[in-house]
């Protein structure tokens, strides 16, 4: 029983972190239609930024400042946001397909920098010395508290996204998504708006990275492999319903549930010595389940539901 609760806590924490990332992507893709396929980069930069400012001890790489976690979160958002600003400046006037590839390219470059610049990030050996301040303060129950904190952060991110979406700001973003030329002709500085959306989304992704960092207490470049740090988040957003903040979160919970939960299915139907085949079957299941979700709900579980001006 206790074990299940522990697993539940881990599950919710991870799903919550993915929820934050998925919200960030929703701002960029769901609102504005920017095809960012470099989520991992902003995720990682946020993670490392927070790790650097909060870590303690004599470290073989940057860090050791020992700032409180909240400062780490802020740093993550700021650094990811600034990075997004510059990435945005050079890529956002590209057409969407090109933005996609440029973002993949930049993300890979950033991943390689994090991987190879040992003096800064610990390189392939990973970043050590990350403070999990909760460990010391609330020994024992800290995992639960951390999960609650993740949910609070997710709630705040949701609030910010929802307000942004429902406001004229969100309306302009949708207009840009639909027809950028017309939006410009209607006086909207589309570059500025897209930049805002890109920076906001990326800052939220960075925040997700920070939350992830303090949860795992150890980060290394493998954690930001495109499969789990970019593609999976896309799957979450699309399955959940892009353009819909609730959908983004729901998608994260459901897809993480599928990703993590299929394990139970394969391990319960296969004998133990077929564990290897089980792992392949599991991936097969994930693929099939994904198709099933898409076939039954092609608009996502919660389709976009733009706020309508009320009637009198």
């Amino acid at each position: 029983m206790e074990g299940l609760i522990n697993f539940g806590i881990l599950f919710l924490t991870m799903a919550g972190i993915y929820g934050i990332l998925s919200l960030g992507l929703n701002v960029q893709w769901g609102f504005t239609g920017m095809l960012n396929v470099g989520i991992a980069a902003f995720f990682a930069v946020g993670a490392y930024s927070s790790a650097i400012v909060t870590s303690v001890g004599d470290l073989p790489h940057w860090g050791g400042i020992g700032a409180p976690m909240i400062i780490g979160f802020a740093a993550a958002m700021i650094v990811s946001g600034i990075m997004a600003f510059f990435v945005g400046l050079i890529t956002l006037n590209l057409r969407s397909d090109y933005l996609a590839i440029a973002s993949i390219g930049i993300a890979e470059i950033i991943r390689l920098v994090l991987k190879n610049e040992e003096w800064m990030t610990g390189g392939v050996n990973g970043f050590t010395g990350i403070s999990g301040k909760f460990n010391n303060i609330f020994d024992g129950g800290h995992a639960l508290l951390y999960m609650i904190m993740v949910m609070v952060v997710l709630g705040i991110a949701y609030f910010l996204c929802e307000r942004a979406y429902k406001s004229p700001w969100g309306r302009v973003q949708r207009a840009i998504r639909e027809n950028e030329i017309a939006a410009r002709a209607m006086g909207k500085n589309s570059l500025s708006f897209r930049l805002q959306s890109f920076v906001l989304g990326s800052a939220i992704m960075g925040l997700g990275g920070a939350v992830y960092t303090h949860f795992t207490g150890f980060i290394s470049p493998e954690a930001f492999d495109p499969l789990l740090a970019t593609f999976l988040i896309w799957v979450m957003l699309i399955a959940g319903g892009s353009g819909n903040n609730k959908g983004a979160i729901l998608g994260a919970f459901i897809i993480w549930g599928v990703w993590s939960g299929t394990e139970f299915i394969t391990s319960s139907i296969l004998p133990a010595d077929m564990a290897t085949q089980g792992a392949y079957l599991r991936v097969l299941f994930i693929g099939i389940l994904l198709q099933a979700i898409l076939l039954t709900r092609p608009q996502g579980l919660l389709p976009e539901n733009a706020p309508q001006p009320d009637k009198d």
Binding site: A164, I181, A185, G187
Partner: protein, 260 residues
Amino acid sequence: MISIQSLSKSFGGVKAVNGCSFDIEQGTITGLIGPNGAGKTTLFNMIAGAFAPTSGKIIYQGQDVTGLRADQLFHKGIVRTFQIPHEFERMTALENLMMVPPGQNGENLFRTWFSWAGVRNQEREVRKKGEEVLEFLQLTHIRDELAGNLSGGQKKLLELGRTMMTEAKVVLLDEPGAGVNRTLLAKLAEMIKQLRDERGYTFALIEHDMDLIAHLCDPVVCMAQGAVLCQGDFESVRSNEEVLEAYLGSSAHQETEGKA
């Protein structure tokens, strides 16, 4: 108001606009006619900042505005419509209008987060205005229909409606009449006049419907092959031999003649 000075634009080898010069006077409704492919839309695109000219200058209120971006020109008071409607497909008709007014509080992220009440109040005003415009265009029944689902003519009307959502100084209309029902078009013409008279807007409009041009426009500029062929009041342009040859064709000539 706007002075176009030997403006040119080429695409690859094609000279779409080629040394075109004329003025749009304050308070006029300038009609722009010319054969298909004469460069009228391209000219509008340059005036409205959709793309920069290859050479030449655009002077607006004494200021050189050549090469400014579309959104910058919008804020200077130049608003345009598109010949092929550029609606925001997956937004409702009302939203298409509501997004237009510039400088809405809610376009600032921080205000949306921290001063929601103010944003909502302003939204109400913008909505009212949008609804008025819809009513005027007889589109109230499709208020909440996605713009992508509108009929061809409804899209054109919506296109026009967007220019009515803002305080413009110059409005460029690219074939507002094509595909619009004639009864409604006559009303639109009245409205254009009214806007000019009451609010001092300046209009430039491209149109192939000679009735509308005759009724509304003075002066009329006729373009051909990227340059101005002739200009003047409608009568003089209409009776110009070259215009007849290149644009009106002989039968149209007779037809309008017969009516007049």
